[in-house]
Symmetry: C2
Subunit: 209 residues, 2 copies
DNA sequence: CGAAAATACGAGCAATTACTCGTATTTTTA
DNA sequence: TAAAAATACGAGTAATTGCTCGTATTTTCG
């Protein structure tokens, strides 16, 4: 077995891939506007210019749409900012590091409002929770690795908690970031960085104590 | 007109008040478990041991239930912690002030999971948003007043933003607080206070600059 | 007491919605 | 080119759900 968890179906056409992308684009808009429960599969199909039957040709059910969309976000997040989130930033001063990490992350979130809509919803089924885990892990794991490099002496448990709190802290401020007008955004970003910087600064100082 | 925005109906019986309280208790549980959209009015009625007809005798529709529940939370929040959130805490050292404010607030949130469930849901109708505003205002206004007293020289606009960010910061960490086991809670609370303390400390230091 | 009002019930309606299925069209492939 | 497979359609269905309404019981009050 090299790479086949797929059924013995014949082949997916380029047309199909295009439709899937269109359906996910549509789902992104509808989820962002209405949330998961509020979104209608018929509305997603219509938004994509497709029929319900076509939608269900590619997705087993509504949850599968959200799962696929989440997977696409994770993929894009890795592709776009894997480098910016690289471990080498750990050697930079804290405020520079925060610029490097947060600027692209904020840009990504503002450019992909559906990502936030899906991630923020706390009332998701177990399957969806599983699909969301990698999205959380992308941020958490990298930050944890960075902290490990930046504060060697700290016990791993404490470090994990610091990373977890920092990620939640950012996610908690996301509503503010998402709601900010283009005009207010710089000031909001400044505050976000100030909050994260102050927290991490304290956590790292404790590690050296 | 002294106090009557009510219809010329005859009188609400004690039995009715009791039923309303039971229905709100039930709604709290169902909303906390399923979210607003996921909750069913029939399920709320059943949870309260009442029939749908009885539910709709006291509430115009599903939204009205959430509005009344939110109002009850605001009332309880004010009653339970109005004093702890009193302006005099502004004269205390920052970390003591945070203990005084956050400990009862965290206890309230953990004791009223429906409050968090309703507040956190971003996909609410305009009516619900209006009902939620006072809940936000309770925390924001008091913190803003405290900051005014603690940092006189700061321009109001900057102060408002600090208060807004601080409130969002706390709300953002609420998922962590709500999900923590009784065992983990103290450590989580420590981190929350550290984060808020570090942020506010920086903001207040800037004000004195 | 007795009438009116408040409370209570729950079957069921109208609307919504996730999803199916029979059928038609386009693309692949042998 | 012809059969098979993939894609597409959209009316229809079964289930869910917010809410109503006719009716029955309890409480209030003159």
């Amino acid at each position: 077995m090299t790479e086949d968890t797929e059924k013995p179906s014949r082949k997916r056409q380029a047309r199909g891939e295009k439709r899937i992308a269109e359906l996910l684009d549509a789902a992104e808009r509808v989820f962002a506007a209405k949330g998961f429960k509020g979104a209608t599969t018929n509305a997603i199909a219509a938004e994509a210019g497709a029929s319900p039957g076509t939608l269900y040709q590619f997705f087993k059910n509504k949850e599968a749409i959200a799962e696929a969309l989440t997977a696409r976000y994770v993929e894009r997040l890795r592709a776009a900012h894997g480098e910016a989130f690289d471990l080498s930033v750990a050697d930079l001063p804290l405020n520079v590091m925060l610029d490097r990490i947060l600027d692209p992350l904020i840009a990504f979130d503002r450019a992909n409002p559906g990502f936030y809509a899906l991630l923020a919803d706390p009332h998701t089924s177990p399957d969806l929770v599983g699909a969301k885990r990698p999205a959380q892990a992308v941020m958490f794991d990298r930050l944890d690795a960075i902290l490990e490099r930046k504060a060697h002496g700290q016990p791993p448990e404490q470090r994990r908690r610091t990373a977890e709190v920092a990620v939640h802290l950012f996610r908690g401020l996301l509503p503010l970031i998402m709601a900010a007008s283009e005009e207010d955004l710089p000031a909001v970003i400044t505050e976000v960085k100030r909050a994260l910087g102050a927290y991490l600064d304290g956590a790292l100082a404790d590690a050296d104590r």
